[in-house]
Symmetry: C2
Subunit: 491 residues, 2 copies
């Protein structure tokens, strides 16, 4: 597979970095699932040491030189070029951003997370504001150091989604915003259901766990390479892609939709990691390419497949057998329950239609913060007025407003747009294939998965996101598909 | 705590080694508990890389020099001296045994394990013999390279139990062998029970799991720092001593003694790790000092406490409430069931009385193999005839004879005697304290645990095993206590 002697040497050096990354992944998974509480005292120290070690091996002079040399080589294969590209990207942050800044950012964000948690509990933005100010300030420095062509925010976007620019995001939202708002008006006029009694209904947890296992079985549960656990926040992790991929689910006791669709969501992420070509395993291109493309896979399984009438018909016998509370509801009932549309305050609880307006709000505020056009102190008011303008709802306090998401406390500015990107790409895949619902209706999930494997999964990070999408679908981020998909679905 | 500047620098360097060890421990635990089967493909590579990395940091020239320097320093505290001693020991193997030999040993043992598993399945020693021959040969080289004073086997013993010599082991068995054989004769004459109907009785697994959790609660289950999982072979692991210690249990479906006493056994190991002084955490002396001393703690909880009439009285209400199959058995019944004495073929199933004869057999054979007095090809015959002489039973095939244990396939020659050492020290602690059964009878487990903490646990690896025992109990390995304990218990 690898012909270039230089790239061979790069991979030799990379092997230990991969091993340390594997250990980090496992420590992360364990911290969220099984680690006894006080274990954090040792774990935090170990993770910090190993993160430093990874950085040290990445910045190794010989390694950096090998990468420079490989970059100059002609005749590299696509995989070889991908390896060099991904490692160069990883290096860029450490070579361009001065160590003092990286260190300060690490310090502020670890304090900011604690402050954010307290501030949210008390619904007091002022307790979090000083940390966010510092984070915004440092992010501006990071953006300048990383460099950009048009807008400093582009440098931050690129950290989460290779090659994504404000221009892309603007273009997406210029299509989405009017499309969604027009659809919302129509749905209101037509009286599309906004609530359902099952939202408040408690479920039997072991029964729901068994139902979810059966649903995942239906989709093809790769027993030897995959597992499902429970954690406070659901997530997917490739412990050793594609051999060991794990997801988690959360059970809160009411509204069985939540664990069911979050399991489908994470399963979508997992499929991506499970289907990366084995020959890429343990190399820098051996995992999903970006947050946005990853999110397209999770949203595809969760929404495009999972919330379709055809899928509901396949899984409703399982749900009804396991959950007696469904006895009086037909498939059409379930369809509306799974597809309620209700402008609401909390992003993570938002439906398919309103979700992207939540992202639009955050994207606009982030951009304005980075340029300094908006001060951190102005955020709560701006948040609330924009929520009212976009969604017609107004937070009663900052906990259900500007403080709701953890991202900024982690220093993640530029992350949110990847969620919308996922929705955009998922809808695009739906139309590019052309018969997803037909296959789902036949129960031919294998054919759906094979399409995703061939078009997205198998390539790992060999191509940057836009290039991958253009190669596979002829275009990259066209938000028109998402508007069309929503219009057709909620007709 | 640390005053020496040199030792401070040593600990600074050691921090990353500790972190890598932590990652290794977690990877080991995960491999045995939750890892999906195919995960091994990535895991094996990651573990090998990280093991190499640890070795590299251990052999770092600057680090080795610091250790040499610290060794010369006067006025080191006991903790500081312990740190230097433990690290020097760890280094010794790598500095004295040539890398080719280490590499060859790694290669042979990884093949030998697979060969052993196949050989045991087919009960054919000849399939394993060539690997064992190679292992014995390499072990001889290792012993010569490591050096010894009296006997090459001493060099191997010391790998598992610091300072243990053939002379110690001979002395132990010269007391134990006649003592046990005489007791066995008496028990036979008096008709001590050899079997019980509950041995074949199936149990309800969730009920037994709940019962075991309650029993561990009774002993003091440190929720925030400890957990119990299920694995094919029960074990204890200090993921981050003393903050995160985990044990596993196995459920086979019949004979509820097995999971119950293996949980108590592992809990004894766990207590040791949980009670190491927090100031030693993440240092080279921050875990239990040796296999033998560790085994003394597990045997103490399992046998001295766990199989006593007093303990049975405390836990029998729990067992009876959870396990309806016990309804017709009184406490005295349980006592005999838990303390059957029956000369048998399999070490891991052996009772407290006959167990050490299984170890004696292995010890003698190992020593003769290392000197070359016995050839690998002679082992099966010798094993069988010795089994008959020592225990009066004869294996029908090699699977229940010479092939039963995994240790030799791992290259572990010199390991077995630490099991007997554990039994010897457990009995010694019993008499040194003087009122263990009194405290158990009152349910005052806290006082028993405090004694163990004070005498053994808190010291971690600060003192070598013999010194620790002499400081705490005035003597080291006195097998007389074990004979006395058995005589009194089985009177």
């Amino acid at each position: 597979m690898i012909r270039s002697q230089t790239v061979k040497e790069i991979l030799d050096h990379y092997r230990v970095i991969w091993a340390l990354g594997h250990a980090q992944a496992l420590m992360g998974w364990d911290s969220e699932t099984y680690m006894p509480e006080e274990g954090v005292k040792g774990r935090a120290a170990a993770r910090a040491e190993i993160a430093q070690l990874i950085q040290r091996f990445m910045l190794d002079e010989k390694f950096v030189k090998l990468l420079d040399k490989a970059e100059e080589e002609r005749d590299l294969t696509d995989v070889e070029r991908g390896i060099v590209r991904v490692l160069k990207r990883d290096l860029r942050f450490y070579t361009r951003v001065p160590p003092e800044v990286v260190k300060e950012l690490a310090k502020v964000t670890s304090e900011a997370f604690v402050a954010w948690r307290g501030a949210k509990e008390k619904a007091r933005f002022d307790l979090f504001a000083p940390y966010l100010e510092k984070i915004v300030e440092l992010s501006r420095v990071v953006a300048e150091k990383l460099g950009y062509e048009e807008h400093p925010y582009d440098a931050l976007l690129d950290l989460y989604e290779e090659g994504l620019t404000s221009r892309d995001v603007e273009s997406i939202f210029s299509t989405l915003e009017p499309g969604i708002r027009s659809l919302l008006n129509k749905l209101e006029a037509r009286g599309w259901p906004r609530s359902h009694p099952l939202e408040e209904a408690p479920y039997d947890r072991p029964a729901l766990e068994a139902a979810i296992a059966e649903v995942l079985d239906l989709l093809g549960y790769p027993r030897g390479r995959f597992r499902v656990d429970v954690s406070p926040h659901p997530f997917t992790i490739g412990i050793a892609t594609p051999y060991d991929v794990r997801i988690t689910v959360r059970y809160r006791g009411v509204d069985f939709r939540e664990p069911l669709f979050s399991a489908l969501h994470e399963y979508g992420h997992a499929l991506y990691e499970l289907n990366v070509a084995e020959e890429l395993a343990m190399t820098p291109v051996g995992t999903g390419v970006s947050l946005g493309v990853h999110e397209s896979q999770s949203r595809f399984v969760e929404n495009v497949v999972g919330r379709s009438r055809e899928f509901i018909q396949r899984i409703s016998p399982i749900l009804r057998r396991r959950l007696p509370l469904l006895s009086k509801y037909g498939d059409e009932d379930l369809f509306y329950y799974f597809n309620l549309v209700r402008p609401s305050l909390i992003r993570t609880e938002a439906d398919e239609v309103t979700y992207n307006l939540h992202i639009l709000l955050r994207y606009r505020l982030e951009r304005l913060m980075i340029t300094g056009e908006v001060k951190v102190s102005q955020l709560p008011e701006l948040w609330n007025s924009e929520m009212e303008r976009l969604l017609g709802v107004k937070p009663r306090n900052d906990a259900e407003g500007v403080l709701q998401d953890v991202h900024w406390s982690h220093g993640s500015i530029g992350y949110f747009p990847t969620y919308t990107l996922g929705n955009v790409v998922a809808a695009m895949i739906y139309y590019k294939h052309g018969n997803v619902r037909g296959l789902v209706s036949e129960g031919n999930f294998a054919a759906v998965k094979e399409y995703l494997r061939e078009k997205i999964h198998r390539w790992g990070s060999v191509y940057p996101p836009k290039e991958l999408l253009r190669r596979s679908f002829g275009e990259a981020y066209n938000a028109g598909y998402l508007v069309k998909y929503l219009e057709e679905k909620y007709r």
